[in-house]
């Protein structure tokens, strides 16, 4: 039973087009498949791009750009690092990266969850948006570089800064933000690093419920001490206005 429900693909030396066609063919031929394991991944792009299905895909190696773009449903586990544009315009599903990820992670993400063990690059969570029951969440264990949550319109970004001596986020956090929330595990935050559309504050009761919910998942995945992390102070960033550009025009 188990054997029938998973397939292993060796990506060694394969061009991304060939690899992805193999994944697609596997899904076409075995519609009931529950798990695909891809070994020796070395930067191949577009894995799980546009796949609308409930299954698990394990990637052993380094996932390339645009992993899970337009994805709707699968659970992706990357045993390694991932490159840029992970979860681009993703609709639903989960991405777990047991390493670090590059720039523009979660661009235009509308739903689903991305959990990263270590650090992420620049412009993470740009223009994330929520819609009805769809609520995108990104949890970053390490630090995030500049322009985190730029143009953010909805959803939740959590930056933990675990094992980091430097401040966990870069400059221009939430520039152009007009929806959603960012939680940062820190005692204080210098307002100069924030975009002018963003203010900082304490987490509300409702925010703690959210934090707790996603941190439980996160700590379970990466085997971390939930209570210890939740004991730390978190600061919430949220937009001054949902209409930052409302009074711009001469009608």
């Amino acid at each position: 039973m188990e054997n029938k429900n998973f397939v292993t693909i060796d990506a060694n030396g394969l061009h991304y087009k060939v690899l992805n066609e193999q994944i697609r063919n596997t899904l076409d031929q075995k519609p009931n498949i529950k798990h695909i394991i891809i070994n020796n991944v070395c930067g191949q792009r577009y894995i799980a791009n546009g796949i609308k299905k409930i299954l698990k895909i394990t990637i052993n190696g380094t996932a390339g750009n645009d992993l899970s773009a337009f994805m709707d449903g699968p659970e992706i586990v990357v045993n390694g690092n991932a490159q840029d544009a992970i979860g681009n315009t993703m609709n639903s599903g989960t991405i777990i990266i047991k390493g670090s990820a590059g720039d523009i992670l979660g661009y235009g993400m509308r739903g689903g969850k991305i959990f990263i063990k270590n650090d992420v690059g620049y412009r993470v969570g740009i223009h994330m948006k929520a819609y009805k029951e769809m609520f995108p969440v990104i949890v970053i264990g390490g630090e995030a570089k500049d322009f985190l949550g730029e143009y953010m319109a909805g959803g939740l970004l959590i930056v933990l800064g675990l094992n980091k001596k430097t401040f966990p986020v870069g400059d221009f956090v939430g520039t152009g933000m007009h929806g959603g929330k960012i939680f940062i595990r820190t005692e204080t935050i210098d307002p100069r690093i924030l975009g002018k559309e963003v203010k900082s504050g304490k987490l509300s009761q409702e925010d703690f419920v959210l934090l707790n919910k996603y941190m439980q998942d996160y700590c379970k995945i990466f085997n971390l001490d939930l209570d210890k992390i939740l004991k730390s102070n978190f600061i919430k960033l949220f937009p001054y206005s949902h209409r930052p550009y409302g009074r711009l025009y001469a009608y």
Binding site: K17, Y46, D72, H178, A250
Partner: protein
Amino acid sequence: MSKSKFRTDFKIVRDMEKCIKCQACARVCSNDAHVYDNESNSIISYNDKCVGCHFCEDLCPTGALTIKRNIPEIKFNSHWDSYSVYNIIKQAETGGVLLTGMGNDKPFKEYFDHIVLNASQVTNPSIDPLREPMELKTFIGKKPDKIELKYEPYKLEYNKPELKIINYKISTKMPPQLVLETPIMFSAMSYGSISLNAQKSLAKAATEFGTMWNTGEGGLHEDLKPYSKNVIVQVASGRFGVDIDYLESAAAVEIKIGQGAKPGIGGHLPGEKVDTEVSKTRFIPIGSDAISPAPHHDIYSIEDLKQLIYALKEATRYQKPVGVKIAAVHNIAPIATGAVRAGADFVVIDGMRGGTGAAPTVIRDNVGIPIELAIAVVDQRLRDEGIRQQASLIAAGGFRSSADIIKAIALGVDAVYIGTSALISLGCHLCQKCYTGKCNWGIATQDPYLTKRLNPEIGAKRAYNLLRAWSLEIKEMLGGMGINAIESLRGNREQLRGVGLSELELKLLGIKHAGEAW
């Protein structure tokens, strides 16, 4: 200072002998330019509220109304015209950016009006399209660099050495193509910027005629799914309405980088226009602003563009053409070749006359270059680099007639997008107030009271008629040139001559001056 009067553009003239006080004008005007006064039993018209959409004039059952241009005449000044003066007054009042709709209305040189077409006389006979087959069929997509033929021996049942039959089959795999019955498609106009009835009219007309319509970046409404075989879906920086179903349902995907009416700036659909239906289509909460950032923040280079093109190709399993839409700007030729080299199957160039639902006036009127020059330089550049066949070229931006279109094709494009003229076929009178959401014609509005004025069945018929009329005219002109397929006109600049153009202009357009023989 007391509040200044804004500039009035129009004067409402009511012929009291014809007016029967039916109050139709007062009921329909969304700008409240006509108001019925119960006590005096009279209709009062306010010139300052009239936007010049001519809806009441067309509707008035007795023809009592005439809308005339009436620009407040300040003392004559050849530098400070009334337009500039009243704009300053408006901005002094509000402190805001001037907004406008539709395309650039400034008197820039109309190159199409300085280009004339050829016709056959004596030496090569012209063709009568009414009797002879005339081919307007157009294929949009990457064409192979060469066609490879594979020899397949013909199997004869009996062996006769004198019977030699050579049988070749094309072994080259054709990349995905869009097949158009006419080289005219409807431009990207999103649901949100225009009403569902307007989109439905165009979708139905395109489907019936065998051409394409374009969702714009507002998603594909569920009511329009029946027309998805003929839809090009857009992926823009805000990614509104983009999911895998949207991409899969389309005939082709278009990455929107820029728009001719507002090159270099993003889009902004105000929250007031995001009602239940728009919200469902764009996948954003009701009442929230839909902000499309100026750049795609994942595209800072041609390599990044390539990454998105291939992300879309991978998502659609290389089954659909993926194109890129860019605004015509100074560097259009190198940008277009970059897009082609990045893997775009078609490149759309949107000229400075291209329309919009809302743009800052200063951008619309001052940014970008004329489409005629952009077409000529892009086509030439792609030919010079030997990659013209790798992508189809589509031009957009203010095509007023079939003549403009045929000239654009002779300059080098495969097909054109029409937006403004398509909306005119649905009733638009170019009042340029699309951004107010009060369109009396039911086009650029989401107000159900206004949108129901546009019957999609009638709208579709009218838009279809426009496609038919222009296609017939193109056939006539082609026949006159002695050409029987639009394919043979593409980039055939010998069919064009310039009138009253400078040497540099002729050089850029790649055409000779009228009077010069072949």
